[in-house]
Amino acid sequence: MSITDRVLLNNHLRHEGLTTVSHDWTMVKAGSLVEKQTLVTIDADATVEDACEVLLKNGITSAPVYDNSKKMYVGMFDYGDLMTYILLLLKKMDVALEDQSMEMRDLIQRTSRSQNVPVKLASDLSGKDPFCTVLEETRLGAVVHDFGTGIHRVAVMDAGGNMKGILSQSSTLDYLMRHLSEYPQLQPVMQKSLQQCGLSNGRVLSVNGDEKVLDALISMSTNSVSSLAVLDDQGVLLGNISMTDIKHIMKNLRTSWLWITCFQLVCKIRLSQGVESGEDQYPVLDVNAKSTFGYTLSKLQATKAHRMWVVNDSGCAVGVVSLTDVFRVLSGLIDTDD
């Protein structure tokens, strides 16, 4: 274990380890993790543009869609769905150069022939993140199993069919890391190397920095992934482009950003994030292939990223650790315990 891993592990173990009872993390109830959440929902008959505004205003990447006439939730709407919707529309027409700077809203309206498309048609469009529910009593072990298959979030329902909150991969990881000292069963895997966890190499789906953003988004959609590594000609990692980056495109009505290069988009996003927070981030979020699983999770938690690219000593991307991969590994622990 490196110096830094030991330091971090000691901090976790020492920090507020007030309880003497050893808990089983797999038995934690889903409901307890969403207790204090304020639920944001989208009306099924709202327009796609209005739904987008809800996501932007609340700083979230997805929200459940509620149908008032049916009195039930009919799906989730997220940026992936929005992107798929836009790509579908754009595929149907050649966008002329002069149209490349129009407002996104106009684009959507024009292409849907001035009939506002209700969001219930757009939700779950990407097909990647279907609406999944669990009960308050559902144990974390089961939820983590779902996360490990690629489901990014689940809706937690009470016995009466009311939604209590949304439990995401990110918030679950955050919870586990904060309470690591209470769950000694998790500590051995934290010290394993990425290689031992089978995460140090894998297929890296990428795009060259000079390719257009729109082409990258189409590629993501075609390959059913939510992000691509942005590489230079030598294969060195320059940054990352993901479905959620569309929020930056929407936020400032920059449809023209669909036609800039991926590297330019990475720069623009970094530039605005740095000014907003007063702190610049490192251009790429990655971990060295020799890092431990625990260090990778700490970095995912701290940066709130959904994936860490794995790089070799030359800075070339050799693999990726996504939140789905993390939960697949954790879910694997449960199976071996049985």
């Binding site: 920090h15 623009k268 530039l271 060295n288 701290a302």
Partner: protein, 359 residues
């Protein structure tokens, strides 16, 4: 080539760019000088300490106006000379010349922005290309950055670094043995020194939300100062609305020297004046008066007049549309999305930092 440094400095004060061959020569000579410096340079007060500048050239001139000119005032610059502002080239050129001209009076510490990876993303590379037509000047400066020292100690009492502390470094001697003559690595002690941030809410180290370096707390600070028999840590790296911030019971200060950061944050800036007895005074200042500085739109026009084709700029509508403020998409009209540009269409929105004109 015979270098007339005084003439170079004079031109730079007039915001005139130096010729590429002159920059090459200056960088070569400065590298020779910096090579002899330790990773920990020891100096004595009085000295004036400057935080992040980020290419805000007119505000650097302001610093000289209020703090005094070289060599009358001793200066310690804590890094982040380039990126984001409109005049990174002029800023780093003048600081390099001043270091070469007055090596004992000017200290330059390396910041996280003095790096190839970061300057490729945050504006300096693009500015060099636009102002010189090739990437040579960027190469000369980024090669020079590899030689900048990592830290300075004032009167054996104040430890000065750009970012902060590292879990791998407990003593000053450990810093001295680092091989610094290279690009800043992604991880490790050298990365930590330029990327870390204090966290008053913690006691220990934690992985940083920036994706490099760590956050460190009160116990880390106390231990470091005690072990190295010093009484203060001085650093930059984080925007401070008041121009400076003092933490951990006056054991650590952050000094920030780019007022109205990116020409829109509205923050104050400061320089820290340390007297012979070790007394510390934050001299707070505002952005240089508007009428002495061109607006981003004027800077953009200036670039156009150099023959840079308008189509090079990705924001399509820049062909004469939206002069100064307002998006290039001409979206000065009704705002349809609430989450947009700080509610005001007239002002520069979140993605229209001045440097975007270069992208």
């Amino acid at each position: 080539m015979v270098l007339d440094l005084d003439a170079c400095i004079e031109s730079l004060f007039q915001r005139q760019l130096l010729a590429e061959s002159v920059i090459k020569e200056i960088c070569e000579k400065t590298k020779e000088l910096l090579m002899t410096e330790s990773n920990v340079v020891h100096i004595k007060a009085p000295v004036t300490v400057v935080g992040d500048i980020h290419g805000q050239f007119y505000d650097l001139l302001e610093i000289f106006k209020i703090g005094g000119y070289c060599p009358d005032t001793n200066y310690l610059f804590l890094g982040d000379y380039v990126d984001r502002g409109l005049y990174s080239v002029e800023t780093i050129s003048i600081l390099t010349c001043l270091k070469l001209r007055y090596p004992e009076r000017v200290q330059l510490v390396r910041g996280n922005h003095e790096s190839r990876a970061v300057t490729s993303t945050y504006g300096f590379y693009t500015e060099c290309m636009k102002k010189y037509g090739t990437s040579d000047v960027w190469h000369y400066f980024t090669d020079l950055f590899d030689y900048l020292t990592l830290s300075v100690v004032i009167d054996n009492m104040i430890f000065c670094v750009h970012g902060g502390l590292s879990p791998s470094i407990h003593t000053i001697d450990q810093i001295k043995v680092i091989d610094r003559f290279k690009e800043i690595p992604h991880e490790g002690p050298m990365a930590d020194l330029v990327w870390s941030d204090p966290d008053p809410g913690r006691e220990e180290f934690a992985v940083s939300p920036r994706g490099a370096g760590y956050t460190f707390g009160s116990m880390v600070v106390e231990k470091f100062l005690h072990e190295n028999r010093m009484d203060h840590i001085l650093r930059a790296h984080q925007l401070c609305m008041e121009g400076f911030q003092v933490l951990f019971d006056d054991q650590l200060s952050t000094v920030w020297s780019a007022p109205n950061y990116c020409y829109r944050c509205g923050n104050l800036a400061s320089i820290l004046e340390i007297g012979v007895e070790g007394e510390r005074h934050f001299n707070v200042f505002e952005a240089a008066p508007e009428n002495e500085r061109p607006t981003p739109a004027e800077a953009q026009r200036a670039l156009f007049s150099n023959g840079v084709p308008a189509g090079l700029f990705s924001n399509g509508g820049s062909n004469g549309a939206g002069v100064g403020g307002g998006g290039p998409n001409g979206s000065n009209g009704a705002m349809t999305f609430a989450g947009g540009a700080n509610g005001s269409n007239g002002g520069i929105d979140a993605t229209q930092d001045a440097i975007h004109y270069f992208l």
